[in-house]
C-alpha cells in the first residue's frame, strides 16, 4: 500500500523554518496517498517563487516552470495523458498577479486537475513586496505608505468564473487541508484550492495567530450546503473570504476533456503517430 512516505524524497526544502508551505507539501503527500495513486502517476507542476519549489520536494514527477504559467503547462500535460494525476501549484503572485488570466480561464475550461495556491499575501522570495492579496493599507517595501489597491478576492472570482470546485484551507489545519486536496483530486474537473500559508518572515500581520482568530470553518456553519453557488457566494462575502473547507462543488458539470469532440478514450500519449497511406490520401483529397 502506498503511504505518504512514498511521496517524500531526499531533497531538503529551502523554505524558512515555520513557513506555511511545509504543511501544504505534507497535505499534498497525504492526500495523494489517501487517494491511492502511485508516485509515478502524479505530476506536480509549479510556478516561480518560494511556493514554486514544491514540485521538487515531492517524490513524483515534477515540473518547475516559469512565473505564472504552471496552469497552462499542467493543462497541456493533462491533455496529453489523461491517466496522470496533475496538481498545479504556486503562490498568490503566480496565480493572482502575473498568471491571473490563466487562473480564470483554467477555471472556465474545467480540465480535470487540481490547483493549489499557497496564499501568503506577500512576495517573499523577492524579499517583501506587496501582492494582489495584500490587504488595503498593508505596508511593504513596495508600498511604504500602505497598499492602495484593494485585495483581490479569489473565492468570489472563482465562484463567478464558472468554477466547479472551490475550497480554501489553512496551513495550521493539515487534517482539513488534506481532506480538501483529496476531494479536489477526486473531483472530475478543475479544482481550485486557495490555502492561507503564512509567510513568517515578511508578513507580520497575517500570522498563524491572526488566521486562527479570524477564520471560520464551514464545517462549523450549521446546514451549509456546498452544492449551492448562491449560498457559497453569500458565505464568502459575509466572512470577507475568511472561511475554510469546501465552499462549492458541482459534481454534475462535465470536464473539458469529456466534451472535446473526437477526443480519444485512451491517453493521447499512447497513440501511434504514423498515419496510414489511405488516411494520408484522404487528407490530400481536400486540396485537389
Amino acid at each position: 500500500m502506498v503511504t505518504f512516505k512514498d511521496f517524500r524524497n531526499n531533497v531538503k526544502p529551502n523554505w524558512c523554518p515555520g513557513c506555511g508551505d511545509f504543511s501544504v507539501q505534507a497535505a499534498i503527500q497525504r492526500a495523494a496517498a489517501n487517494v491511492g495513486i502511485q508516485p509515478h502517476d502524479l505530476a506536480v507542476i509549479s510556478g516561480i517563487g518560494c511556493s514554486g519549489r514544491i514540485s521538487g520536494y515531492i517524490h513524483s514527477y515534477g515540473f518547475h516552470g516559469i512565473h505564472g504559467r504552471a496552469l497552462p503547462i499542467a493543462q497541456g500535460l493533462k491533455m496529453a495523458n489523461k491517466d496522470l494525476h496533475v496538481i498545479a501549484s504556486g503562490g498568490d503572485g503566480d496565480g493572482f498577479a502575473i498568471g491571473l488570466g490563466h487562473t480564470i480561464h483554467s477555471i472556465r475550461r474545467n480540465i480535470d486537475l487540481t490547483y493549489v495556491v499557497m496564499d501568503n499575501q506577500i512576495y517573499g522570495l523577492t524579499k517583501g513586496q506587496t501582492s494582489p492579496r495584500s490587504a488595503e493599507g498593508f505596508k511593504t517595501k513596495s508600498t511604504p505608505g500602505g497598499a492602495i489597491e484593494p485585495s483581490l478576492k479569489p473565492l468570489e472570482l472563482a465562484l463567478t468564473s464558472g468554477a466547479t470546485f472551490v475550497a480554501q484551507g489553512f496551513s495550521s489545519d493539515i487534517k482539513e487541508l488534506t481532506a480538501i486536496i483529496e476531494a479536489g483530486i477526486n473531483h472530475k474537473g478543475f479544482s481550485f484550492i486557495n490555502v492561507f500559508s503564512p509567510c513568517v518572515t515578511y508578513n507580520k500581520v497575517n500570522t498563524y495567530d491572526w488566521f486562527k482568530e479570524n477564520l471560520t470553518k464551514l464545517s462549523d456553519v450549521e446546514g451549509y450546503d456546498h452544492t449551492n453557488r448562491e449560498e457559497a457566494i453569500k458565505v464568502v462575502m459575509e466572512n470577507e473570504g475568511l472561511v475554510t473547507g469546501i465552499i462549492y462543488q458541482n459534481e454534475e458539470a462535465p470536464s473539458y476533456q469529456a466534451q472535446v469532440p473526437g477526443y480519444a478514450d485512451t491517453p493521447l500519449v499512447d497513440q501511434n503517430l504514423k498515419m496510414s497511406e489511405q488516411e494520408f490520401n484522404t487528407l490530400l483529397q481536400d486540396f485537389m
Partner: protein, 584 residues
C-alpha cells in the same frame, strides 16, 4: 496564345472577391495549370479595397508577375488602384453598376459588363462574381463545362436550382462578353496544360497537414493573422485522430500548454505571428532550458508592434534566431514552397524530439496565405523519428529514491527522455539551472557541464537539404540568396538574367539556424557578387550570412519593406541598378 495569364479581381472587402478568385482558380487548377495567388487585403471585415491576383501557366509558378492581363473590377477604386499594372495588351472588365471610368493614361481598353444586373435578374446580385467569371472565360475561350464540376462542389449541397442559376450566370457572362468582344473572342487564350489533377493550397495548409502527418495530437493557439488557418485546419482534422485543439487565452498559454503536452509525450505545437512570438519568448527559453521538445510556427507579417498585420515582411529572422534571454540551443527552419512547408514541418517535429529543444518554423505572409499549386506529396518520404525517447522499457527501481538522470551528460548532448507516468523514472524538470537529475544546482562545474551539453545538441541537427540550390555555374557573376516566399521571384529572375548572358546561381536557405555554413561557403566563394534579397529594412539575412560565411566585400543587399512581395521586373531593375553602381 498566352504563355501565362495574370488575372486580378478587385472590389470592396466582404463582397465576394475572395470567392471569385477561388472559383476561377479551382477551374484553372482542374485543367492542369499551375497557379500562384496573392491577396491584397486589410485588417477589417467589411469595406476597404481588396484584390486577388492570380498567375496561371502550364509550368510551375511561384511568383506574381508585375503586369496584369485581365483586371476584373467591381468598383472604381479597383481600377484607380491597379490600372498601372495594365499594358496595351491587357483588358479591364468592369461592372456597369458603378459607371466605371477609365483613367486617361490607362493603356488597356475597358469593357463594361452588367455583372450585377445580370445576376440580379437571375435572382440575386450575389452571383455577380459568377457573371464575371463567365466574362473572363470568354476572353480565355474556356469551355464552360470546366466550371460545372466546381459549381457542383461549392453549391451542390444547396440544391440543383442554386447550381443551375450559378451555371446560368456563368453562361450569360460569357455570352454578353462574347458579343462585346466580337472577333477578339478568345484572344487571351492560354497555351494548353496537361490536365493533371494537382493540389492547390496555401502554405498554412501545407504546414498544418505536415503537423498532422508528423503525428501531432494537440495544438494550443491564439488567433492571429496570418497564422489562424493552421489552427482552423487542426480543429477540423484532429478530432478524426483523437486529438484536440485548445484556443487559449493568450500566446503565452499557447506555448506553455504545448510544452506541457510535449512533456507528457505528445507531439504538440502552436502557430502565431510576430506579436504572438514576442509573447512566447520566455516559454521558448523554458523549452530550451528544460529540454522539452516544442514546435512553433511563426508566420511573419509586417512589424514592428502591430505593424502591417495583413502585409508581407520577413523581419522576424533575428528574433527567431536569438530570441529569449540567455542562451539556448534552438533550430530555425524556413520552407519556401508548399512542398517544403509540408516536409519541413515533419522535419521540425523530428528534430524537436530528437534533440529535445525548440524548433521554429519560419514562414511569411505570402507563403502562408498565397495559394499555390503543389505536386503530390510522396507518402514514402514521410519519416517519424523520436530520438532517445524511452518507451515500453523496464527501468530498474532505485533503492534510495534517487532521481532518473533525465539530463545526463552524453556525447551528443542528448539525454534519455522518459515520460511522466513511467515507473522508476521519477525526476524533476526545472527552468532553474539543474544537475543531471533535474535538481536545482548553482555549482559552477555543473553549470558548465549542463550548458555545454545543451549547446552541443546543435551540432547534431539532422536536416534534409538545408539549402535549396539551383547552381548551374561553378563560377558565378551573381549568387542570389533568399529565404521563404522570395523563392519564386528569384527563380524567375535567375532565368531572365541567364538568358541575358549572365552566370547566375541561386541558393535559398531552408535551415536558418544553425546556419548551413558548409553548404554556403563554396557558393559564396565562387561568386563575384552575392545578392541577398529580403523583405525587411535592415538586411537581416545578409547580416547572418556575413556573420557565418564572411564575404563582406561581395555581399550586397536588396531590401523591400513596403508590405508587398518582390516582383520580377521590379527586382530586375533594382539588381541592375546595383550592378550599374559599380558594385560588380
Amino acid at each position: 496564345m498566352l504563355q501565362q495569364l495574370s488575372w486580378k479581381v478587385g472590389g470592396q472587402q466582404g463582397e465576394g472577391i475572395e470567392s471569385t478568385g477561388e472559383i476561377f482558380s479551382m477551374a484553372m487548377n482542374r485543367l492542369g495549370y499551375y497557379l500562384y495567388g496573392y491577396r491584397h487585403f486589410s485588417s477589417r471585415i467589411k469595406g476597404g479595397h481588396t484584390n486577388n491576383k492570380i498567375c496561371v501557366r502550364p509550368t510551375q509558378v511561384r511568383t506574381i508577375p508585375d503586369d496584369l492581363d485581365i483586371l476584373v473590377a467591381f468598383d472604381q477604386e479597383t481600377i484607380d488602384v491597379n490600372y498601372k499594372e495594365l499594358t496595351e495588351k491587357s483588358v479591364i472588365l468592369a461592372d456597369a453598376k458603378f459607371s466605371p471610368v477609365s483613367p486617361e493614361d490607362c493603356l488597356a481598353p475597358m469593357y463594361i459588363v452588367p455583372f450585377t444586373e445580370i445576376a440580379a435578374e437571375l435572382g440575386t446580385s450575389l452571383m455577380k462574381n459568377m457573371v464575371a467569371i463567365g466574362a473572363t472565360s470568354a476572353l480565355l475561350n474556356l469551355d464552360k463545362a470546366v466550371f460545372q464540376g466546381v459549381v457542383d462542389e461549392i453549391f451542390g449541397k444547396k440544391g440543383t436550382e442554386v447550381v443551375e442559376k450559378n451555371m446560368q450566370a456563368i453562361q450569360q457572362g460569357f455570352d454578353v462578353m462574347a458579343e462585346q468582344l466580337g472577333d477578339r473572342l478568345g484572344e487571351w487564350q492560354l497555351i494548353e496544360a496537361d490536365g493533371k489533377h494537382r493540389m492547390f493550397m496555401i502554405g498554412n495548409d501545407a504546414i498544418a497537414l505536415g503537423a498532422l502527418t508528423a503525428g501531432v495530437r494537440f495544438m494550443a493557439a491564439y488567433p492571429i493573422t496570418p497564422a489562424s488557418e493552421i489552427m482552423e485546419y487542426m480543429i477540423k482534422k484532429l478530432p478524426l485522430f483523437g486529438g484536440a485543439v485548445i484556443q487559449t487565452e493568450d500566446e503565452i498559454a499557447a506555448a506553455t500548454m504545448a510544452i506541457g503536452s510535449n512533456y507528457g509525450g505528445v507531439r504538440a505545437f502552436t502557430a502565431s505571428a510576430g506579436p504572438g512570438l514576442s509573447l512566447m519568448m520566455e516559454a521558448i527559453g523554458l523549452s530550451g532550458m528544460t529540454e522539452q521538445p516544442l514546435v512553433i510556427v511563426d508566420t511573419q507579417r509586417g512589424g514592428p508592434s502591430t505593424g502591417l498585420p495583413t502585409k508581407q515582411e520577413q523581419s522576424d529572422l533575428m528574433q527567431m534566431i536569438y530570441g529569449t534571454h540567455g542562451e539556448i540551443p534552438k533550430v530555425v527552419i524556413a520552407p519556401s514552397t508548399g512542398e517544403e512547408a509540408f516536409f519541413d514541418t515533419i522535419q521540425a517535429f523530428n528534430i524537436a524530439e530528437e534533440l529535445q529543444l525548440p524548433v521554429i518554423i519560419l514562414s511569411d505572409l505570402q507563403l502562408s496565405l498565397g495559394k499555390q499549386t503543389v505536386d503530390p506529396f510522396d507518402y514514402s518520404k514521410i519519416e517519424i523519428r523520436r530520438g532517445k525517447l524511452v518507451q515500453n522499457e523496464e527501468i530498474p527501481e532505485s533503492v534510495d529514491k534517487s532521481y532518473f538522470k533525465r539530463f545526463e551528460v552524453t556525447e551528443d548532448g542528448v539525454s534519455p527522455r522518459v515520460l511522466p507516468g513511467t515507473a522508476h523514472a521519477i525526476h524533476h524538470v526545472t527552468g532553474v539551472e539543474h544537475d543531471e537529475t533535474g535538481k536545482p544546482s548553482e555549482a559552477a562545474t555543473n553549470r558548465i557541464a549542463q550548458m555545454d551539453k545543451r549547446m552541443k545538441k546543435l551540432k547534431h541537427v539532422q536536416f534534409n537539404e538545408p539549402v535549396y540550390k539551383n547552381v548551374p555555374y561553378e563560377e558565378a557573376d551573381i549568387l542570389f540568396v533568399g529565404f521563404n516566399s522570395t523563392r519564386g521571384v528569384l527563380e524567375e529572375l535567375q532565368q531572365t538574367l541567364i538568358s541575358q548572358g549572365m552566370k547566375v546561381n541561386h541558393a535559398h536557405i531552408r535551415l536558418i539556424h544553425p546556419f548551413p555554413v558548409e553548404e554556403m561557403q563554396p557558393l559564396v566563394a565562387n561568386a563575384k557578387k552575392v545578392v541577398v534579397v529580403e523583405n525587411n529594412a535592415t538586411g537581416q539575412l545578409a547580416n547572418i550570412l556575413k556573420m557565418n560565411v564572411g564575404g563582406h566585400d561581395k555581399v550586397v543587399n536588396v531590401t523591400k519593406y513596403d508590405g508587398t512581395p518582390f516582383l520580377p521586373l521590379q527586382l530586375e531593375k533594382q539588381v541592375k541598378e546595383l550592378l550599374a553602381d559599380g558594385n560588380i
